[in-house]
């Protein structure tokens, strides 16, 4: 009866193939396509063997086999894994022994199953194995021997079983330390024919009771060939490693595909602090090529990628230096792609060299060169180098400037000796000598005129330049422009003496407020020996109205004879400037200065273009005229002055040209230099400053006087304010007192009247009562005035006829006037004169003035002197109301204080009447004033402004 076998395999074709094999091997096969079917089959039927493909889903779990074995304890259960089309691996679960893995072929799978079922499962498992498996017992005798072992070591199983394991060991000559450890190691084994094999030995210990070893299993794998190859490769690799380790450049080989470092030399320690060996296997990305000066890692990844992409070597200088470098480091890294036979880049070789020193030196060198160029360029002197023929190789900006060029490059490659400017310098011979003999050459204050016409003074120093062989290669010349310095020096000297003289002139000017004296002092300064020392000086005044220069003064001798006389006299007398000035003024007065007579006749139109004096005035500039060839000279002026060599400078006061000074050396014939001109200019400037200062002083005095006046006015105004305030305060007190007095006054007067009424007319008491009544009435009148003054009533202006107003007022006073036998003369216009006034107030003003007039004439007895005149006069802009009397008139004090409150000339009265009048008139926008008239009395005028509408309604005729 055939044995029953269950084949579980997910692949139908594989399953069918195995089933076929099983039938040929005499099995009765059943099939299961998946784990549930397998499980069902195992539970349903009795099988002698179960083989399961490990690929079957769910078979990963190792417990499955044990479970099948538990259900079918007598069955042979194994799992197989397909390794390739022909090879398989078999795992078998067996009692006591962990299933070894066996490699065999698919065809032999069934043989193996059969063997497993027939015999000791372990025997067949080992025997059938292609692996060289040797099992020994506790005594070291061989108990099992696989097919693979037979192939490897040449012994047949039958002849070796039972022999000691030493048979296959190399022997006593090569004793092997017996290791009982489980594990893999290299060992040597002896073939049946005697040669020694290198094997990889996997030893598995077989443990008995109490963990004692009762045997062991060795699996041997022949490694003889591979070990030798590996050793050779290893040696070669070591050799190369040693070679590249000797190189100080950092070398790194990168696997292009994986980006891993496959080789790196010792030199890397310098950059990374890690030896090459430690870097191998790491990805290149993880290992930067050192760090930059800030400590940041410097990656070479980009370089590698570039080399791979371009398939060309790539180089870059990275800002990465050796770790312990004191200054910023630089590394020149080259990435070289290695291209294999297929044309692909499989490796990139990086070679890095520390170039910090070179970069650093280069930077230092460049800085040094820059500095040198900077020095030469900015040196305050001109520097020129030439070759041995004099061709200029280098010139700086200052050198170009000295020769009158704007750009140093214009000088380059020109021959120094061919420069026309150079020819004037008298240094050609000296420089040629330097070039020939090598002797240094130097000259001070060489004169030259540069290409742009400027006159220069130059100090020159020349040194030879040598070739390497000692021959003279050219010269280097240093040219120092000292023109400005010399000028300054000369000017400083001149200024020092000018200043001393100016101080004296300034003194003269300061003490003089007279412009003529000041101008004469200036001329004295121009001609004085201790001053500017010109022979003669002319002063011409600008007349801007007539637009001409007019001669004003001149100083100096008219001819040589007079010159000798004057100069001798001056030398003998040792006069100071003030004395000279005094003498000069006297001489002018007496018309003894002959050239002054020439001067005062000079008339030069400002518009004359060729007239240098006019130009000096208009252009506000100084000029130097040097002889009759000078294009600026007009013949006319030269004839008048009697010389064609002179200096002319403008005199500018307060930004206005007030004149020009012409100075010459006509007598001595001494040349006028540019320095003389400058001194004259400077002197004129200083002199005008002195004059301006004198004018300022005068103005200051005037301002001071104005200030004093203003101060006085302010003081008066202040006093007025104080007085007004005092008056206002007085008014308030007066009002208060007046109110308090009124009530008792009313009772006194009231009861006095009551008493008077009850007394008979002839009773003397009646008279006394009357006195009380009258006095209280007077007091009440005073009260009313005081109150009105202290608090003027609001105005109620209406359009009123002033003619009617005057008439009405006079009517109310008729009795009073008549009683005193006073004659009135009234002069009023025939038609109404309208004005906008507060009629009550205006009546009060008029009543007041008339009452005053009555009082004024009270003392006169003669009828001739008992007249009052009242008139209304119309003017275009004003209405004038006049009240005149024939009284005693007004004395000075009265005129001054007439309208002041509380001022009175009368024995009675408050002194407020006229004050109130003035207030009322002022409130109407008018004015009141008084004057003495021809009648011995006073006339008061009230002037009121006329409004437009009032004018139209008025008849302009009328009046006195």
């Amino acid at each position: 009866m055939p044995k029953r076998i269950l084949i579980a395999d997910g692949s139908p074709s594989e399953r069918a193939a195995l089933a076929n094999l099983a039938r040929h091997a005499g099995f009765a096969p059943s099939e299961a396509a998946d784990l549930p079917l397998l499980s069902e089959a195992v539970r349903a039927g009795r099988y002698d063997a179960v083989i399961v493909n490990s690929d079957l889903p769910g078979m990963e779990s190792p417990g499955i086999l044990s479970e099948i074995q538990r259900i079918l304890p007598s069955a042979t259960v194994l799992r197989y894994t397909r390794l390739s089309d022909t090879e398989i691996r078999i795992e078998r679960l067996d009692e006591g022994v962990h299933p070894p893995e066996l490699h065999t072929t698919k065809e032999r799978l069934l043989d193996y199953v059969k063997a497993a079922m027939d015999s000791d499962p372990l025997d067949s498992l080992i025997n059938l194995s292609n692996e060289a498996i040797v099992v020994t017992d506790g005594d070291g005798r061989i108990t099992r021997w696989s097919n693979g072992a037979s192939i490897l070591l040449g012994y047949h199983r039958d002849e070796i079983i039972g022999l000691p394991i030493d048979v296959i060991r190399p022997g006593l000559s090569e004793p092997e330390p017996e290791s009982t450890e489980t594990g893999v190691r290299l060992a040597r084994r002896k073939h049946r024919d005697g040669h020694i094999l290198n094997v990889e030995l996997t030893r598995t210990s077989i443990a008995g009771p109490e963990d004692r070893e009762i045997g062991c299993m060795e699996i041997l794998r022949d490694v003889t060939g591979s070990i030798e190859r590996e050793r050779e490769i290893e040696l070669l690799k070591r050799f190369y490693e040693r070679v590249i380790d000797t190189i100080s450049d950092g070398i790194r080989v990168i696997d292009a595909a994986g980006g891993r470092i496959v080789l790196a030399n010792m030199a890397h320690v310098e950059w990374t602090g890690v030896s090459g060996g430690e870097m191998i296997g790491l990805t290149s990305r993880d290992v930067p090529w050192g760090t930059d000066s800030d400590g940041n890692p410097v990656s070479v990844q980009e370089l590698i990628e570039k080399a791979i992409d371009s398939r060309e070597p790539v180089r870059a200088v990275l800002n990465a230096g050796p770790q312990d470098a004191s200054h910023a480091g630089y590394t020149d890294v080259g990435a070289f792609p290695m291209i294999n036979v297929d044309g692909d880049v499989d490796y990139v070789v990086l070679v890095g060299r520390d170039v910090s020193e070179q970069v650093h030196m280069k930077a230092l060198l460049a800085a040094e060169r820059d500095r040198r160029d900077q020095i030469i360029r900015s040196a305050p002197a001109g520097i020129i180098t030439t070759d041995e023929r004099g061709v200029i190789e280098f010139a700086n900006a200052h050198a170009a400037e000295i020769f009158g060029f704007t750009d140093p490059s214009e000088l380059k490659l020109r021959n120094l000796f061919a420069l026309p400017e150079f020819g004037h310098m008298n240094i050609e011979d000296g420089i040629r000598a330097t070039m020939k003999t090598g002797a240094p050459f130097s000259i001070d204050h060489a004169q030259c005129t540069s290409a742009n016409g400027a006159e220069l003074t130059v100090n020159v120093r020349a040194q030879p330049l040598y070739h390497g062989n000692g021959e003279i290669a050219g010269v280097v010349a240093v040219l120092e422009n000292v023109t400005e310095r010399l000028t300054l020096l000369r000017r400083l000297r001149a200024t020092t003496s000018d200043l001393a003289m100016l101080a004296e002139i300034g003194e003269l000017i300061h003490h003089s407020r007279d412009t003529d004296t000041i101008l004469q002092a200036i001329l004295v300064g121009v001609t004085a020996g201790e001053g500017l020392g010109f022979n003669r000086a002319f002063l011409l005044e600008t007349e801007w109205e007539t637009r001409q220069l007019r001669g004003k003064f001149a100083i100096g001798p008219a001819d040589r004879a007079e010159a000798e006389r004057i100069w001798t006299e001056l030398n003998q007398k040792h006069l100071n400037l003030a004395q000279v000035l005094y003498g000069y003024q006297r001489a002018i007065e007496q018309k003894q200065v002959r050239i002054n007579e020439i001067a005062v006749d000079l008339r030069l139109p400002l518009e004359e273009a060729e007239n240098i004096a006019a130009r000096a005035a208009i252009e506000q500039q100084a000029f130097l005229v040097r002889g009759d060839t000078d294009p600026m000279l007009s013949r006319n002026l030269a004839d008048k002055l009697g010389t064609d060599r002179f200096a002319v400078v403008p005199l500018i006061f307060n930004d206005r040209v007030e004149g020009v000074i012409i100075a010459d050396n006509a007598i001595s014939g001494e040349e006028i230099t540019r320095d003389d001109l400058r001194s004259l200019e400077l002197f004129a400037h200083q002199a005008t400053l002195a004059v301006e200062r004198a004018q300022l002083y005068t103005e200051l005095e005037q301002s001071l006087r104005d200030l004093q006046i203003a101060h006085t006015q302010l003081k008066e105004s202040h006093e007025l304010t104080v007085r007004n305030e005092r008056l206002a305060a007085m008014g308030q007190v007066a009002a208060q007192v007046a109110h308090e007095i009124r009530n008792p006054l009313v009772s006194i007067g009231g009861f006095a009247r009551a008493i008077r009424k009850r007394l008979e007319e002839d009773n003397p008491l009646n008279q006394y009562a009357s006195i009380i009544v009258e006095e209280t009435t007077r007091l009440e009148a005073i009260l009313n005035e005081v109150l009105q003054f202290s608090r003027p009533k609001a105005q109620y202006r209406t359009k009123a006829d002033l003619v009617e107003l005057v008439n009405a007022t006079l009517r109310t006073m008729d009795t009073e006037i008549a009683e005193r036998t006073i004659k009135t003369e009234v002069s009023l216009p025939d038609s109404p004169v309208f004005a906008h006034v507060d009629t009550g107030q205006m009546k009060q003003v008029l009543r007041n003035l008339i009452a005053n007039a009555i009082d004024a004439i009270a003392e006169h007895r003669s009828s001739k002197h008992r007249r009052i005149g009242v008139a209304l006069n119309t003017q275009p802009e004003h209405l004038i109301l006049a009240v005149e009397d024939t009284g005693h008139g007004l004395d000075e004090e009265a005129r001054k204080n007439l309208f002041e409150p509380f001022f009175t000339t009368k024995s009675t009265g408050t002194g407020l009447g006229l004050s109130i009048c003035r207030q009322i008139v002022a409130d109407h926008g008018g004015d009141i004033l008084a004057e003495n008239n021809g009648l011995g009395g006073a006339t008061f005028y009230v002037m009121l402004p006329r409004g437009e509408e009032d004018k139209n309604a008025t008849n302009p005729g009328g009046g006195r």
């Binding site: 109110h739 009124r742 009530n743 009313v746 009772s747 009247r753 009551a754 209280t776 009440e780 608090r791």
Partner: protein, 117 residues
């Protein structure tokens, strides 16, 4: 007989006015302050009230307002030592405004004028 009320804090003036107006044939009543005057106006009927302004306590202008509130038709003449109150519009409610004077002619004229109207 026309009835007159004189309101004034000055006793001498009350006496003077009472004497003068009684002589002229008026029935004269007096009050020494504003409240007394108002009280009298409430209780009696006067043809004319002569009213001072500056008084201790309530002043004449206030009194004028209250009197008018009491009796719409009452006739009041203000009699003050001050001219200032002429500018106060309250004073315009009075029939007239007379500055105090020892000569009572003007005041008497104004009283007559009020009675005649």
């Amino acid at each position: 007989m026309p009835r007159i009320l004189v309101v004034d804090d000055e006793q001498s003036l009350r006496l003077l006015y009472k004497m003068e107006f009684t002589q002229d044939g008026y029935d004269v009543d007096v009050a020494a302050n504003a409240d007394e005057g108002i009280e009298k106006v409430r209780e009696n009927t006067y043809d004319v009230v002569i009213l001072d302004i500056r008084m201790p306590g309530k002043d004449g202008l206030e009194a004028l307002g209250e009197m008018l509130a009491e009796r719409r038709s009452i006739k009041v003449i203000i009699n003050s030592a001050y001219t200032t109150y002429k500018d106060n519009f309250m004073s315009w409610a009075a029939e007239d405004y007379v500055i105090k004077s020892s000569d009572l002619t003007e005041l008497k004229q104004k009283v007559r004028k009020v009675l005649d109207s």
